[in-house]
């Protein structure tokens, strides 16, 4: 918008480029531009500043979701899911760190029994955070790790339990079935669990984020989304379409590789970062 004085076709073109380049996607971008055009027709937006404010409002409206679930039981079990490499393991560490800072006791269950050194990675994070990590030997059935892990956690009496799962592409039916089994097993061991199912999305991802959200939602139900790697140059605009279409609340953003690099999702700040 910099330096533009008039609201004209050229400005709308520029806006289209801005939004598409922020990964909002064609449908969402056209929808937003159309909403602006309607307002323009009704002479509701004379100058650029008002146009920008109106656009920001529309984007915030897309991003807004229901408030986070109230923590109503102890332990509160959180299952983290998502495709490969998006930041699940690191995000668990950040969430557990946040708990510790609030005086809560988190415990981590290493249910990624497939990937090389996945358990070791979570163990190192557990040591740094000060959270015990429950694991079994590599190749174990993840559902069994969750079952036994929950049993052990219940015996210890902790506030929060985080279950780290292996990355999996949403298109892999057998892996999605495995995830459903993990979900059922947790519920069997502890009615109501998992209380939260957090989908981790990588901000550098394009339109595939929608497919990911749809299929994970369909498989196990998702109660919240965490958008990672927003410390890069990617704007994560696909989160708007995801939030709008699935109704899943955007809970946090990851902004780095350290324990403190987690912030609550702020729709205003998110839209402002995209609009510049």
């Amino acid at each position: 918008f910099a330096g533009r004085k008039e609201v004209d076709a050229a400005l709308l073109d520029e806006l289209e480029e801005l939004l598409i380049t922020a990964d909002l996607g064609v449908d969402t971008t056209l929808h937003l531009i159309q909403a602006l055009k309607e307002k323009l027709k009704r002479r509701e937006l004379g100058e650029v500043a008002r146009l920008k404010a109106a656009l920001k409002e529309e984007m915030v409206a897309l991003a807004k979701g229901p408030p986070p679930k109230e923590i109503t039981s102890r332990p509160w079990v959180v299952l983290l899911v998502g495709v490969n490499g998006v930041g699940k393991t690191t995000t668990i560490a950040k969430l557990a760190h946040q708990d510790r800072q609030q005086g809560l006791t988190p415990l981590l269950i290493a249910a990624d029994t497939f990937r090389a050194a996945a358990v070791e990675q979570l163990e190192i994070w557990g040591q740094r955070v000060g959270a015990p990590v429950i694991k079994q030997k590599s190749g174990a059935d993840p559902a069994a790790v969750v079952f036994d892990g929950l049993a052990a956690a219940l015996a210890r009496g902790v506030d929060k339990i985080y279950i780290d799962t292996a990355g999996r592409l949403h298109t892999k039916v057998n892996l999605m079935e495995e995830l459903k089994k993990i979900h059922r097993t947790a519920a069997k061991k502890l009615p109501g669990a998992p209380h939260e199912i957090l989908l981790i999305l990588d901000a550098t991802t394009g339109q595939n984020a929608l497919n990911q959200a749809r299929l994970f939602q369909e498989a196990v139900g998702v109660t919240g989304i965490i958008l990672t790697k927003l410390d890069g140059t990617a704007k994560g605009g696909m989160a708007l379409a995801v939030a709008h279409e699935t109704g899943i609340p955007l809970r946090y953003i990851g902004v780095g590789e350290s324990l403190e690099d987690l912030r609550p999702f702020d729709a205003e700040a998110f839209a402002a970062a995209i609009l510049g």
């Binding site: 064609v26 490499g85 930041g87 090389a116 991802t205 140059t233 696909m238």
Partner: protein, 292 residues
């Protein structure tokens, strides 16, 4: 689907005689939308559409009995040509050991791909040596050690706290002494906007002069592919790109963006989590996938 959308565009014009530029414009608009939905970068898409506009308003479409198919054919040909064109083979020339360096954003699949390449080279009769130069990510060294063990390839014994540049140099020495002919360097994931870490990659490059500097990128990358490709290429002079997680349903438009901004060939595709899941790149197949 693009072919249906184009058929609809040209159906409206049936019986009106020859096509006009306006109608071809509408067809090009559909192509543009398809590319954007496939995650091809906005500017890259724009340039591509301009490039094919010449052919699209030419005789081959205007006189065609099946203009929709003709447009698809043109787009597919142009995409294939853009995506391919150069040798996708690894440059393993020169006095051994030859170094291959894998770089990229966090979580893109570098460590796994290092092991996949090692396994492939071993099956081709070479003597690869894996080098963990990521001392930042928890258990990264252990991860590569495990993968090395899985494919029977030796791994340099990196110790935590060592400097990646020193690790690379020492590993080349060790490889030379032990008679390995190919050193595969795994580096820590990093942001292209992290000046210090990008400088570290440059320092490694100066130290060991790799024959290949491969950008490992996630197939689901969106518009940011341009920034990432440009930054890594400007600083390091990449020799190629490897796209991972291609067995999923990401359309893979990022591949076109990266090819455009780096001018470098896509050499391999990662198509799974197991170490045998590495395929040579086929431009025509990716062209079809991007078009949807």
């Amino acid at each position: 689907r693009l072919s249906d959308k184009l058929a609809a565009v040209f159906k409206k014009l049936k019986g009106r005689g020859i096509l006009t530029e306006v109608q071809v414009d509408e067809a090009l608009r559909e192509v543009r939308l398809a590319l954007l939905e496939a995650d091809v970068n906005y500017k890259v898409t724009k340039a591509f559409i301009e490039r094919i506009r010449q052919r699209a308003v030419g005789e081959e479409v205007l006189r065609s009995l099946t203009p929709a198919q003709q447009v698809i054919k043109i787009v597919h040909e142009e995409l294939t040509q853009l995506l391919g064109g150069e040798s996708p083979r690894l440059d393993l020339s020169g006095r051994p050991p030859v170094a291959l360096m894998l770089v990229g954003l966090q979580g893109s699949g570098k460590t796994t791909t290092c092991a996949k390449l090692a396994r492939r080279l071993k099956s081709q009769g070479r003597q690869p040596y894996l080098v963990p130069a990521d001392v930042q990510r928890p258990a990264a060294i252990e991860q590569l050690k495990r993968l090395g063990a899985d494919c029977g390839v030796e791994v340099y014994p990196t110790k935590a706290g060592q400097n990646p540049v020193d690790i690379a140099a020492a590993a080349m020495e060790a490889a030379y002494t032990a008679g390995y002919d190919t050193v595969i360097l795994d580096t820590a994931g990093r942001l292209h906007i992290d000046g210090a870490l990008m400088a570290e990659l440059k320092a490694i490059r100066e130290k060991v002069a790799p024959k290949e500097i491969l950008l490992v990128a996630d197939a689901m990358t969106g518009q940011d592919a341009v920034q990432v490709g440009e930054s890594f290429h400007d600083l390091l002079k990449l020799t190629g790109v490897i796209l991972t997680k291609m067995e999923g349903d990401a359309r893979g438009g990022a591949a076109l963006s990266m090819r455009e901004v780096t001018g470098r060939p896509i050499k391999f595709l990662g198509v799974g989590e197991k170490l045998d899941a590495l395929e040579p790149f086929h431009p025509d197949r990716l062209a079809s996938r991007i078009l949807g």
